[in-house]
Symmetry: C2
Subunit: 248 residues, 2 copies
DNA sequence: CGAACCCTTGATACGCTTCAACAAGAGTGG
DNA sequence: CCACTCTTGTTGAAGCGTATCAAGGGTTCG
């Protein structure tokens, strides 16, 4: 029944797109800057984290944490991608949000002295860092600058979630898709392209729609001449039109 | 055209439910504890805020801040209620979330050196406190315990928003209403009651449904024998059934 | 090859919105 | 005082948007 050892195996869109092997040494330094602000200048206060960070290397499908588990770490993903959602026995995985590249997976649960409220699984080969919360808290007392970094990261998350709830409440599926495409497009000038780095059904899950409607919406936008969909690469033919669709 | 000076005047459900006058002195001390943790013990680190807090007294309909405005304060509401959403010229007010009693209105925007992303208006006579962000940031450096309080509050907000997005993505209107009723019910034992303290259309807006469907859902639940709706008070007849409906 | 996974397309069903009409309450002004 | 207006909640009919169910084709892997 299970083909690759786990039901929600990623099966990357095109296997040519495998992440570079990047075989890092166990003690390789971690670049904290992108996790916080992208501001790497004067990051002296982040040195203290080097001693605390616990590295984990996961292959896709492995559990990062479960929602019942008590949150005792701040969890970040350095490379690869992690999915947050609910793991239910019947269905493969109920994805809610996917976290890519260097980004925090869970920065909030540990402060509340309770469980992670969500399950998290690796959607690809992933390199994680976990910071034990008590130690971070201790470190905080001597490093006000670190506290400020954490506050900023947390504030950014609140802003992001606020935007997400707004979109879910007031925008229909087409608008949400347009927003997503605008956020993920790259390669400016003339050739604007959106490479789909996840299964389409995972993208659909994040947009809170079914895979069927995602397929239909893409075709619909293609008919309008806004997009050109070729497998797992979407070319944006009329960016202004797409942005108009995405707008409030 | 305008009847009460502003279109989104609250017109409280029952005018008998007016908030007590509570005419406070300008220098009356503010109880910071409920804003942070409810833990008032050892709140020495919060004393520093007393000197910083700027009090504002607003009557209903007045603007707390607008979404284009640069966020330079941490904003909390001490008493009364404030609505967050988008003020659009045509429609009265697009409510997204309402904040009651002692609670933070915006704790995140100031850290990001940008605008508040939302508009906020007083939904009733409200007493606010604003903390200038630069001063708070300064205070932080000497008071690590304050930083921890802020982190905790922010983390709680992230958790709350996570739950909200989950509900919006995976629960239908009836489930969301059930959740809302369970969260707002009071008076345990025998008589479980949910007093509606806002206009029904505002409650509907927070549930991301139209007033019409809210009305229909309430009647539907009444027909099932779960509720008894009498104007602005809802009596829960079958709490277990309601909780089952609310569950995942 | 068949099995298992993916995406797509079509037909149908359901949930919720939209639009329109109505009754009730509250403030206003003749 | 009453008529008038404005707001609110309610109910019904129609329509849109999206989910659900079912079927088929493409790809990968054993």
């Amino acid at each position: 029944m299970l083909r690759r050892g786990c039901t929600f195996a990623a099966m990357l869109p095109r296997s040519s797109e495998l992440p570079p092997l990047h075989r890092v040494r166990a003690e390789s330094a971690i670049d904290w800057a992108p996790l916080f602000d992208g501001d790497s200048s004067g990051a002296a206060e982040l040195r203290g984290l080097d001693a605390l960070g616990i590295e984990r290397q996961l292959s896709h499908g492995e559990l990062v944490f479960s929602r019942r588990q008590r949150a005792e770490h701040l969890v970040a993903v350095i490379s690869g991608s992690v999915g947050l959602g609910l793991a239910r026995d019947g269905s493969p995985f109920h994805l809610q949000r996917s976290v890519h590249g260097p980004q925090w997976v869970d920065l909030s649960s540990a402060w509340l002295d309770g469980p992670y409220g969500q399950d998290a699984v690796a959607l690809s080969k992933a390199r994680l860092v976990e910071l034990p919360w008590p130690a971070v808290r201790e470190l905080l007392h001597g490093e006000p600058a670190l506290a400020e970094r954490l506050l900023l990261s947390l504030a950014r998350q609140v802003q992001g979630l606020n935007g997400l709830t707004h979109d879910l409440m007031h925008k229909d599926a087409e608008r949400r898709l347009a927003v997503w495409l605008c956020q993920h497009c790259q390669g400016s000038d003339a050739e604007v392209i959106v490479p789909l780095k996840e299964r389409k059904r995972d993208i659909a899950a994040q947009l809170a729609i079914t895979p069927e409607t995602l397929s239909r919406l893409l075709r619909q936008l293609q008919r309008k001449g806004v997009l050109a969909v070729r497998g797992y690469t979407v070319q944006v033919l009329d960016l202004p039109a797409l942005q108009t669709l995405a707008q409030d």
